[in-house]
Symmetry: C2
């Protein structure tokens, strides 16, 4: 019982049969008689036999491992994705090799190398903010390691990706506020360069025009997502529009900064100014004043979808000639959810 693991070999010699028979018996291969199959399984059970995965990985040229590369685990969005990937992998008896790029391009490249050497069967990746060169991803194609990108998707063609459509959620958010009677709604947006900002703007615009209201561009201000920038943006909005009653913010951090600052300015957050944000932080529920609603981006669902696609790719590796290859581009719709904790305040 002590020390070494029992091998297929030992079982074979104990039973006076060949290794191959044991192997097949354990896999319930039809060409093995039922009696020997049972004898083998019984002994294997008794000896506490566990297949040596390292040997199997080596033999099959597969590792039954998928790599997960993301920028920062501490961001709730990503840790939620980890949960999803882990759960999915778990079901199929895969394991997850995790690594954080910390938004560093060099580290990302090293991680890719490591993943390749470890012969991961596939990768789920959210690229680092700073990454501008994508050769390391191309390199993996040569080794037939499929990749599914999510959330932060590189500007490459012929890739598989899962992302969230922020536009629909933005539309719903503004629409929700309009239905509640708000007529002057601000948007503290992110840097104009980000497509994420663009999507938010589009949703905002669509909601306004669909409701037959006229769009006022001065209600949208950009900020650099810092606390100071947020304060300036809020100030600008407030000064321009005295009748402002609601604000949609780029993300939860911006919402936090804005709410904090609004409180400092002695604004009545119950009656005079309401917020809607995009959900990043679970902790927003512990805040003194929470936004009345959030645009949910379903990180868990995105993670699930990404792994689902990856498994498809892994299992159809052979049939994937460049011609017959199709590329998955899944879009998860964002959705407005009311913050219940707002009402318990």
């Amino acid at each position: 019982m002590g020390g070494k693991q029992t091998t297929i070999k030992e079982i074979a010699s104990l039973l006076n049969i060949s290794v191959s028979t044991v192997s097949r018996a354990l896999h319930k291969h039809p060409s093995i008689g039922i009696t020997t199959q049972l004898r083998v399984q019984k002994l294997a059970e008794e000896l506490n036999y566990e297949p040596n995965q390292a040997a199997i990985f080596f033999q099959k040229g597969k590792s039954y491992t998928i790599g997960l590369i993301l920028p920062e685990l501490s961001e709730a969005f990503f840790s939620s994705v980890v949960n999803a990937v882990e759960d999915m992998a778990y079901k199929k008896n895969y394991t997850v090799l995790l690594a954080q790029s910390h938004d560093n391009e060099d580290r990302e490249k090293q991680i890719i190398q490591m993943m390749k050497n470890h012969r991961v069967d596939g990768l789920v990746v959210s690229v680092a903010k700073t990454t501008t060169n994508f050769d390391h991803f191309h390199m993996l194609e040569k080794y037939n390691i499929p990749i599914v990108f999510f959330d932060r998707i590189p500007p490459l063609k012929n890739i598989h990706s899962v992302a969230c459509n922020i536009e629909t959620g933005s539309f719903e958010a503004v629409n929700y506020l309009l239905k509640k009677g708000h007529r002057c709604i601000g948007l503290i947006n992110g840097p104009a360069a980000l497509t994420a900002s663009e999507e938010r703007k589009k949703g905002y615009f669509n909601a306004i025009t669909k409701n037959r209201l006229k769009f006022d561009p001065s209600l949208i201000v950009s900020c650099d997502l810092t606390e100071k920038g947020t304060q300036e943006a809020l100030t600008a909005l407030m000064e321009n529009k005295r009748n402002l009653t609601a604000i949609v913010t780029f993300n939860d951090y911006v919402a936090l900064y804005a709410i904090k600052y609004a409180r400092k300015l002695n604004i009545d957050l119950k009656n005079d100014l309401q917020f809607i944000s995009y959900s990043n932080l679970p902790l927003i529920n512990y805040m003194d004043h929470v936004p009345i609603a959030s645009v949910e981006q379903f990180p868990y669902k995105q993670g699930e979808k990404a792994v689902e696609i990856l498994f498809d790719l892994i299992n159809n590796k052979d049939s994937s000639t460049p011609e017959t290859m199709y590329y998955n581009k899944v879009v998860v719709e964002s959705e407005l959810v009311e913050n219940q904790s707002y009402h318990t305040d």
Copy 2:
């Protein structure tokens, strides 16, 4: 170029030398002439040779992988540990196999099985809250897989562990408040059953008595760590002690609840009541009102230490007869840190 990885074999046949020579040359083995060594290395470089880790793992009976099992990734404390473990592993060219038990004993057991099958070289573990049976950990001993526990340590003898001494931090916290002139300091503690509660209480008691003040037991109240429980605890404290000027809370969640409730009661948090908490949440920095200080538990340092010990164990596996075996029990001292964001409020 296309598809397959180059192997040591191919290099050998291209150079008309044997595989063993190539292997040794790549490892700079002294018994290989310098000229052949260079020839091999040059060709390996050109062919973009990368050793097949799966084969090496198999051959060496090692996976160069360490397993990390923790309850919940979403808790900032643990995600910080992940960072540490990853960084340490990274330096030694190890990879990290991550899994969450979600505080579920069954899942924990399955994960252990999986880790064993994957032949991890060692494990860093924080056990699930609900785990009462520890056989699955004992089982690993038979397979010579070393474990280092951290934070949540099972009540077993002869194990390696890293944990944080909360008592020192608690002492410092109360001492800090005393130096600031506070004379009536409350402690909203956790359930009495937890050793964590006991440690906090001890630190509190020591600080009081070391300062030659008399200890008032009614200043310590237990709570169940829920929002409601916290509110009740705070109410009890406030009613009993009208001159209460500071409170130490069991953790950041309790602090958040208490601060939120205190605000509701229109207590002046700047002048009348100050808080100190134990740091779990980075987000506390975004709050309207933060505690003036936190007891830091250094999760990153704990993670580092745990991996350090693990590597020691992995490398000295052979020499570890039960007799010569020594067990590591590292205690990381907690420490009071002032919240700078408190002053920028």
